[in-house]
């Protein structure tokens, strides 16, 4: 008989629920799917060199990755200590004043819903419309080209974006099995498209790219037959430059890496479904962050190799600022530039589909996360009972899905028809909510030793302090840093008066909503407070 190992030093009996661990790979795929590697890469390459002059994509990506690792480690200690599904709502209600916990959950949920709508808008403006235009350009069919341009208009964006949300909601409402299947299909398409994208970059030399670009775009732009250099010169004349490394711009552009990386910690919302939560979540969260950063760094290097940093910055700058003669008829997202650079309809379609797949992965998932929270609130009686109703046929919370859909379509409308919500201001709120929950985690081992002492990490100390306190302190610092980084980034989020009014109003409104529900329940004879209080043992 061999000596028992650590895991063997217990005896188990035949009982239900003794399932083996959800595979670490499952958690990893869940997290990396929510990072949306493709969209993150798109944001970085699109906005980085064009908007943040002097910003370094490599350094910015690494900083964001390091910061998200700290946030991820903090969230990891939370999810290991409270391995329940539902995200920060569960952490908050156990560590802070319930009205505040509800408020943070409400604003977080709104932010993810907004993110989903943002995805729906991007699906049209950066995915479908430019792809159609690019195909029109490559096949030299002006009708297709202009149709693509029309699709990116206000109504095109609203109608197609809303349709995407409706399809996402229908899939969710029709049952989780269908949702999982559709996500799997899209994940496969997205990964395939990304592999084609990377392959095209590897096998396309700078000379080939320049030649193809000049051939395809030379007649369409007003910068001469050498369109490649013409675009760079026109952009430089219009104000674009590469002033060399600049720390401030590098930190600001790192926002575009940090925002998608937040998805790497979304497995906190399924903590209750992972048995060996420590291992699974560690691999999921840390693995997804590491893998995303590695893929981004490699892809940035390949895009720079094939297209050149100056061209990338100049072509996007020209498009964003409408530089005469240099503004492309199609949004020059790096995936489409790669397609155009290959001058191949098939490769362009495959790369575009991959990119659309990455965006799509966000849409139903960003509806799913809020619906879980709505159901949890309803069960805790801080939201109407109807929101907790689950369809007997599909086992999905249809009223909650419909409410989220209505909210999502409203956001798409605001994004399409107004400039009020053009920036990702709601993400600031979500980052702030996470920062506050991480801050609460610093004190959790001291405030709730009854729960913390049962955590597998309860005995782990760093410098004599509980590992949760240290990890959450570092995570909170990183999250607060990115809150302020977004706050001072007028391009990504900023702090315009109207934005701040929305953020503060949203916090205050959520807080008031809690108390409205509290009073309604009180009149119904239900004491909401009891849902969160611990039963005293006498």
């Amino acid at each position: 008989m061999t000596a028992p190992t650590a895991g063997d030093r217990v005896f188990l009996r035949k009982a239900s629920g003794l399932i083996k661990s959800a595979s670490n790979t499952d958690v990893f795929i869940y997290d990396i799917g929510l990072v949306s590697i493709g969209l993150g890469l798109g944001f970085l390459l699109f906005y980085g060199p064009a908007v943040y002059l002097g910003g370094d994509l490599y350094v910015g990506t690494l900083i964001a990755g390091a910061a998200m690792l700290l946030v991820g480690l903090g969230m990891l200690t939370w999810t290991i200590t409270i391995p329940r599904s539902g995200g920060i709502y569960n952490f908050g209600t156990r560590s802070m004043w319930p009205p505040l916990a509800f408020t943070l959950s409400f604003v977080e949920v709104t932010a993810w819903l907004f993110y989903g709508s943002f995805g729906a808008v991007y699906l049209v403006q950066l995915g479908i419309a430019p792809s159609v235009t690019a195909i029109g350009i490559i096949t030299d069919k002006p009708g297709v080209e202009s149709f693509g341009t029309d699709l990116a208009g206000k109504w095109g964006t609203f109608l197609i974006g809303s349709a995407a949300l409706i399809i996402g909601a229908i899939i969710l409402a029709s049952g989780m099995r269908r949702f999982f299947f559709s996500q799997k299909v899209m994940f496969t398409i997205a990964v395939t498209g990304t592999l084609v994208f990377v392959g095209a970059l590897i096998f396309t030399s700078r000379a080939d790219f320049v030649s193809n670009w000049n051939s395809v775009m030379g007649d369409r732009l007003g910068v001469g037959n050498d369109a490649y250099n013409g675009v760079i010169q026109a952009a430089q004349k219009a104000g674009w430059s590469d002033p060399g490394f600049d720390w401030k711009q590098t930190l600001l552009l790192s926002n575009w890496a940090f925002l998608p990386l937040i998805g790497a910690a979304f497995s906190i919302s399924i903590g209750g479904e992972i048995k060996q939560v420590g291992r699974g979540q560690t691999l999921g969260i840390i693995g997804a962050i590491t893998m995303s950063v590695v893929v981004w760094i490699i892809s940035i290097a390949l895009v720079y190799k094939t297209m050149g940093k100056d061209f990338l910055g100049a072509v996007t700058y020209s498009n964003l600022n409408g530089v005469e003669g240099a503004a492309t008829p199609v949004t020059p997202f790096p995936t489409l530039l790669t397609g155009l650079g290959t001058d191949s309809v098939v490769l362009t379609i495959l790369i575009a589909l991959g990119f659309i797949g990455w965006i799509w992965l966000w849409i139903p998932t960003q509806i799913l996360y809020p619906t879980r929270a709505l159901v949890a609130w309803s069960l805790d009686r801080v939201a109407p009972d109807t929101l907790g109703t689950v369809s007997e046929r599909t086992h999905t919370p249809i009223p909650a899905i419909l409410l989220c859909l209505a909210g999502g379509i409203t956001f798409v409308g605001m994004l399409a028809f107004t400039s009020f919500f053009q920036l990702v201001i709601f993400i600031e709120v979500a980052v702030l909510a996470w920062a506050l929950v991480l801050l609460a985690g610093v004190f959790f081992p001291y405030r709730r030793p009854d729960i913390y002492n049962k955590s597998p990490i309860a005995n782990m100390k760093i410098g004599g302090l509980p590992v949760m306190s240290v990890a959450c302190a570092l995570g909170a610092a990183a999250a607060f840093f990115y809150f302020f980084n977004l706050f001072f980034d007028d391009f990504a989020a900023g702090h315009a008066r109207h934005s701040m009014s929305v953020l503060i109003g949203w916090f205050v409104g959520s807080f008031i909503l809690y108390w409205i529900m509290w009073f309604i329940r009180r009149r119904q004879g239900v004491n909401v407070d009891l849902a969160f209080k611990e039963i005293p043992i006498e």
Partner: protein, 311 residues
């Protein structure tokens, strides 16, 4: 009434349950099935006086007696059964499933007796009625121990009168992948429950206290498992499935009782309506020391409110 279930041996959850009547203002406490834990944690004394054990898959060395006591309290609160023994005894037990089962029985009995001792004076002082039933994970001798208690009334297989309403109870479930103590096929489960329904004078105003939830509701959704008991995932997400009983569902649909009290699926926390029947599964978070429960207000033969709690 206050209903909680699937405590799985957690000391702290049981103590909270006993105090829940006073806290939530409930006059009746009902403890659903699966009261016993699933794991013995041996704490083996080493030659140097320290003790070796494991926690969360990692080996843990306890240097002092205080460390041992604190560890015992901690794992007991999580529903496990700590047992101090020599390393030699541990090695013997390790290769002897029968001896392990015997040890399980000894520790389960000990824990339940401690619980009863804790509960009796407190329940008497509070003046609340307390009922309990076993679940599919509980060995049959559990009934015998619970049945000996003066403060807790054992409900298994019985129909009782509760403040003018009738309540039937069983901890049996449909078949599970784990082949547990009290599980059977749907037909037999149906006939067991039917034999109790036949004893009800008014099924439509009765409470069905059945451990396994009705099939295909929000209360019975859990991760689907493959043949190796591994969760099946699709697109990186766990695939959920219905693990409830079709017989229970059919009988609820047919007789439409006032209320269904269920457990079994820890993830299935929620309230579902089947026709006019409110079906409740408070879920379980016993390993976190959190008592999931449900405060149910009944008045004049009607369910006035069902409130899920986490205490």
């Amino acid at each position: 009434m206050f209903f909680a279930t699937d405590l799985h041996g957690s000391n702290v959850c049981f103590k909270k349950f006993v105090n829940a009547g006073k806290f939530y203002g409930a006059s009746v406490l009902i403890l659903g099935g699966d009261v016993t834990g699933k794991m013995v944690v041996p704490i083996a004394e080493q030659d140097d006086g320290a003790h070796l054990t494991s926690f969360a898959g990692r080996q843990v060395r306890l240097e002092t007696e205080d460390d041992v006591a604190s560890f015992e309290a901690r794992v007991s609160d999580m529903g496990f059964y700590p047992k101090v023994m020599s390393e030699e005894r541990f090695q013997d037990l390790h290769g002897d499933p029968d001896a392990q089962e015997e040890l399980f029985h000894e520790l389960i009995r000990e824990r339940l007796e401690e619980w009863i001792q804790y509960a009796e004076p407190r329940l008497a002082e509070q003046g609340v009625k307390c009922f309990a039933a076993p679940g599919n994970d509980d060995a049959f001798f559990v009934d015998e121990i619970l049945g000996e208690s003066e403060a807790i009334e054992l409900l298994e297989g019985r129909v009782i009168e509760l403040d003018g309403m009738e309540m039937l109870t069983t901890g049996w479930s449909n078949e599970t992948p784990w082949k547990t103590e009290r599980e059977t096929n749907e037909a037999e489960l149906r006939s067991m429950i039917m034999s109790m329904i036949d004893r009800l004078s008014r099924p439509e105003s009765a409470i069905f206290n059945i451990h396994v939830p009705p099939h295909a509701t929000a209360l019975d959704q859990c991760p689907k498992l493959d043949e190796n008991l591994r969760p099946v995932s699709s697109g990186g997400n766990p695939v959920m499935t219905s693990a409830g009983s079709t017989a229970v569902r059919e009988l609820i649909e047919t007789h439409q009782p006032l209320l269904g009290l269920h457990g079994h699926i820890h993830e299935g926390r929620g309230v579902a309506r089947i026709e006019r029947t409110y079906c409740v599964n408070p879920g379980s978070s016993y390993s976190e020391g959190v008592l999931n429960g449900s405060v149910i207000r009944l008045r004049q033969g009607e369910v006035r409110d069902v409130h899920l709690t986490q205490g």
